[in-house]
């Protein structure tokens, strides 16, 4: 773990995008970029892997569908198949249209909620979590690029100044 990091401040998302591309071209690893709002295309410029959260959501939806089917098959068909208003409770398929609204809602419920929880877990968000941003200005109008220093402080500083940084800080981490 690098003990020293360099923080380059930017005040414009276009400048930031160009800076990210330049730093990537110079083959430096960007530890993190802090932004006050989503910058379109930043993940591509940084070379981040695409998210797989949609795939997890699909799987959760399948689980929800299965839960709905198993639950209603057990309750309505297996456990107590009584005649309610002439509905055919002889097999699941015969009474299926009546179950579809529940099947649909549970699919959506599982897909949505479990995906959100997955998002919280993967991005480590919870109610009493300590905020991680290095500078309060990154939530308002400044962008910060964080790079680790490996005995190349001067070279990095020059490179970042060239990219249009408005402020450069070196700090212990």
């Amino acid at each position: 773990m690098a003990s020293k990091v360099i923080h380059a401040y930017y005040d414009d998302d276009d400048v930031l995008m160009h800076a990210v591309k330049k730093v990537k071209d110079a083959k430096h690893h960007i530890e993190e970029v802090y932004c006050p709002f989503p910058v379109h295309g930043l993940d591509k410029a940084m070379g981040l892997a695409p998210t797989r959260i949609a795939i997890t959501s699909f799987i959760y939806g399948c689980v929800g569908l299965a839960v709905a089917i198993v639950m209603m098959n057990y309750i309505m068909i297996q456990d107590w198949p009584q005649d309610i208003g002439g509905k055919p409770s002889f097999s699941y398929l015969e009474n299926m249209p009546a179950f579809v609204p529940i099947m649909f809602e549970l699919t959506v419920f599982f897909a949505a909620h479990l995906m959100v929880i997955t998002f919280y877990l993967r991005s480590r968000l919870w109610p009493f979590k300590k905020a991680e941003n290095p500078d309060v200005r990154t939530t308002d109008d400044h962008f910060v690029m964080e790079l680790a220093i490996h005995d190349n402080e001067k070279e990095l500083k020059n490179l970042l100044m060239d990219t249009g940084a408005v402020e450069i800080n070196v700090s212990e981490k």
Binding site: A54, F58, G86, P97, A98, V100
Partner: protein, 440 residues
């Protein structure tokens, strides 16, 4: 400018000729007497005749003398009418299916104009090309409707004065369901749709040559007005042309249901024609994001169609009121495979095939799904018309496939001919730059 490839033109002519032959064979082989109809049913029943024969035997044993004979005669005449309806229904289903595609595209086009969408102006000429089919398709439908009014066929039972005279329900509806008013409504609707199409196309071409945006603004206004007219006329059209083949039955969301079928088929055809033209290098500025958007619409409207299909089915199944539920009883008894197969083709397959974002950008994948969706929505129209006109005598044979081929050939010929008439890319649409750089 697009030039109609001679191979495609040839293919469309061959389809039309083969289709005409099929339609002709269908009309030639329809029975004209009760005896012929009986012989046809007997020859078809060969394989699974046992159960049927037993049933008939029971019926004969239970019934007594004259009554049974009278009943049999009525039954035979019923079967004769069903068999005589077969080539007409085949023609009508295919004619309506291809007309519906053009009308769905027209609605989508008007929505794109009225919503000032930034991604779609590149595709306006493709849509205008497809809606050109409204004129020949609409005329053919109107001719079929006039022939029905002239008693050339028995597609619409309420057109038969004898039937209405003995049917209290139909008498009650005769203020609305009478041949004159029916044809007047059809003429107004067709006239309105074609008028908007031609006028909007004219403004669209004028906009290219003008030096201000007045044509564009006028087009925006008439498109918004057209959508109001379309919403009303489409709903009434679906009661007239489709629901009234079953005049004892009614459903309140039927217009929306037909609309969903229409718009999803229309968007599918836009995507397919666009991919075809792009593969021939006629649409250089259309990129994968445009295809992605169209595929998203195909996906979304497939689900929307399913929502309406299921809402109609489930409400009627759940309450099980006899006068409504017969509609589904006949379909599930006599049309089990087409009825449920269509749900697989129109919902399950598009849902799974088009869910992945990457797949929506693969052109051959969109074409494949498009073919499934179009076949599924043909079956949807088939399931709306056939059970009431031919009942359990349905099949997908020479008349049905012939009619599909004929109208597919005519559709391809007319659409691609219209595409040659103007440059495929609008020149000075205010949104054209945004559309060219559209990226998702």
């Amino acid at each position: 400018m697009y030039t109609f490839s001679s191979r495609l033109r040839m293919a469309s002519f061959i389809m039309m000729i083969v289709g005409l032959l099929g339609i002709g064979i269908g009309f030639m082989s329809a029975p004209s007497t009760v005896e012929e109809a009986k012989a046809m049913v007997a020859s078809h029943d060969g394989g699974h005749g046992d159960a049927h024969a037993e049933e008939v035997g029971l019926a004969e044993a239970n019934a007594h003398g004259e009554h049974a004979e009278a009943h049999d005669a009525a039954h035979d005449e019923h079967v004769l009418h069903q068999l005589q309806n077969k080539p007409w229904s085949a023609l009508y289903v295919a004619a309506f299916f291809f007309f519906m595609i053009a009308l769905g595209v027209l609605a989508f086009y008007a929505i794109q104009r009225a919503s000032q969408a930034g991604w779609s102006p590149l595709l306006f000429r493709v849509m205008e090309g497809i809606t050109a089919y409204l004129v020949p398709g609409g005329i053919i439908i109107f001719v079929i409707l006039v022939l029905s009014v002239l008693h050339m066929n028995h597609l619409f039972v309420w057109m038969d004065a004898d039937v209405v005279a003995h049917d209290k329900l139909l008498m009650g509806k005769s203020g609305y369901l009478n041949p004159t008013f029916f044809l007047i409504r059809a003429a107004i609707f067709l006239g309105g749709w074609i008028l908007y199409r031609e006028y909007s196309r004219k403004l669209s071409l004028k906009q290219d040559a003008s030096d201000d945006n007045s044509n564009f603004k006028l087009n925006f206004r008439i498109s918004a007005a057209f959508l109001v007219f379309y919403l009303i006329s489409e709903s009434i059209m679906s009661w007239d042309w489709i629901m009234s083949v079953d005049p004892h039955w009614f459903s309140t969301l039927f217009g929306w249901y037909v609309f969903a079928s229409m718009i999803v088929s229309g968007i599918t055809v836009i995507a397919m024609v666009t991919i075809y033209l792009k593969s021939k290098d006629y649409l250089p500025d259309v990129n994968d994001s445009h295809i992605h958007d169209l595929a998203k619409f195909m996906f979304g409207f497939s689900v929307f169609w399913t929502y309406l299909w299921f809402s109609q089915f489930m409400l009627i199944w759940y309450s099980n009121i006899p006068e409504e539920v017969t509609y589904y009883v006949t379909r599930i008894e006599d049309f089990k495979l087409p009825f449920f197969g269509m749900v697989v083709m129109n919902f399950v397959l598009p849902l799974l095939l088009l869910m992945n974002s990457d797949y929506k950008r693969i052109n051959w994948f969109v074409i494949l799904t498009g073919i499934i969706i179009l076949a599924g929505h043909y079956m949807d129209i088939f399931n709306m018309i056939m059970p009431s006109t031919v009942g359990d005598q349905w099949s997908i044979g020479i008349p049905e496939i012939g009619a599909i081929l004929f109208f597919a050939g005519l559709f391809i010929f007319w659409v691609f001919r219209a595409l040659t008439k103007a440059p495929l890319q609008p020149k000075r649409n205010p949104f054209i730059e945004e559309s060219r750089h559209f990226h998702y």
